[in-house]
């Protein structure tokens, strides 16, 4: 597929149109990158923790403090979980069809499957 994207939107300036960077400038990051963490926030007591985003931090304590500064600046949370991203395992979207297939033909798992007379109350 030969695709060219030629429009120059705000935040989307192609490299060839923007002039190249000076080659004398060497990369400055040097392999001391902090690991990536996933952040989960409980927005109020009684609700589940929900995935809020991710950030980099040297350790768990720093990840929690950074998560507070980044994701709860407007009191969006009362509790924070962090877990290093490398420990998250995920199902494969390419196999979603067969993976979830067993549930597809079991409508009898839903209450609306059962036809009851209107006289039956409280059920």
């Amino acid at each position: 597929m030969n695709i060219q994207i030629r429009k120059f939107y705000y935040g989307d300036i192609p490299e060839d149109a923007g002039g190249s960077g000076s080659s004398a400038q060497q990369p400055v990051t040097n392999g001391t990158a902090w690991p990536l963490w996933e952040v989960f926030i409980r927005s109020k007591q009684g609700l589940d923790h929900k995935h809020a985003g991710s950030l980099h931090a040297a350790d768990a304590a720093m990840a929690i403090e950074n998560a507070r500064d980044v994701y709860t600046r407007r009191q969006e949370g009362v509790s924070i979980w962090v877990v290093e991203s490398k420990y998250i395992h995920a199902s494969n979207p390419d196999e979603a069809e067969s993976f979830y297939e067993p549930a597809a033909d079991k409508v009898y798992r839903h209450p609306s499957f059962y036809d009851l007379p209107d006289e039956v109350k409280h059920m």
Binding site: I5, G18, G19, V28, G53, A58
Partner: protein, 315 residues
Amino acid sequence: MPLADLEKIFQDKIDAEVKIEPKDWMPEAYRKTNVRQISQHAHSEIIGMLPEGNWISRAPSLKRKAILIAKVQDEAGHGLYLYSAAETLGTSREQMIDDLLTGKAKYSSIFNYPTLTWADMGAVGWLVDGAAILNQVMLCRTSYGPYARAMVRICKEESFHQRQGFETLLVLSKGTDEQKAMCQDAINRWWWPSLMMFGPKDSESVNSDMSIKWKIKRKTNDELRQQFVDMIAEQVKLLGMTLPDPNLKWNAARNHYDFGEINWEEFWNVVKGNGPCNRKRMEARRKAHEEGAWVREAAMAYAEKKKTREGRKVA
């Protein structure tokens, strides 16, 4: 599965308004465009902290200083949401930061203009953030899930930025003659660069636009720019100020404001690195990054040492 089939499934999802998620198959050009666009957007947030940071120590009151700090903090957060979204596409934070600091990656040209007076803080909030918000509201519905979610979060926080900017100008517009003049001067200097934020005219594009087909973008540059002009041309009246464009006029037939031609030579000049502050911005970022290197290393070394110690205790 043959490539053509994968492409069809992908496009069908987009057409059906199903979001694309990180592990889903996507065309390489879709991935690359998103990485470029999201990282440029992130860089814009980070560089965007500099012109405003310039005024934190000189804000006219404690209240204004606290507001400005909160706004700059938000921008750091917005940069982080966006970097995280770009990282889900397989690029790394170091790579993006290297690209910014070596000048390979771009950021919005608007931040290469200087903030000369306090009124500029108002004009930046009202005009620059106002223009950015139109773009960002559209991007809340972009097809790539992590980008869309980052945008929703950003838009929620961004509206205070624009409101505080307008209010800053409103106070000046009711002040002394000198303050009024300062207000008008800031509007005069920021108006045209703000219009340039939306990018070149649609007519400059000859190829079919994949960004629209893939729903990365949902409106064209000119559509967004017109929306912005219509909005600001009304709001400026409430300030009792004017916009520096003799051709700005309501067109009843179009139901839009007509406006004058943008200086595109200036636009490309600033994009290519010759704006008033390009060098200064990059120098400031590089300096901050280099001077922070020992902190990043020390934090990592401390974390590793602590982990080793805890490991020993368990054993």
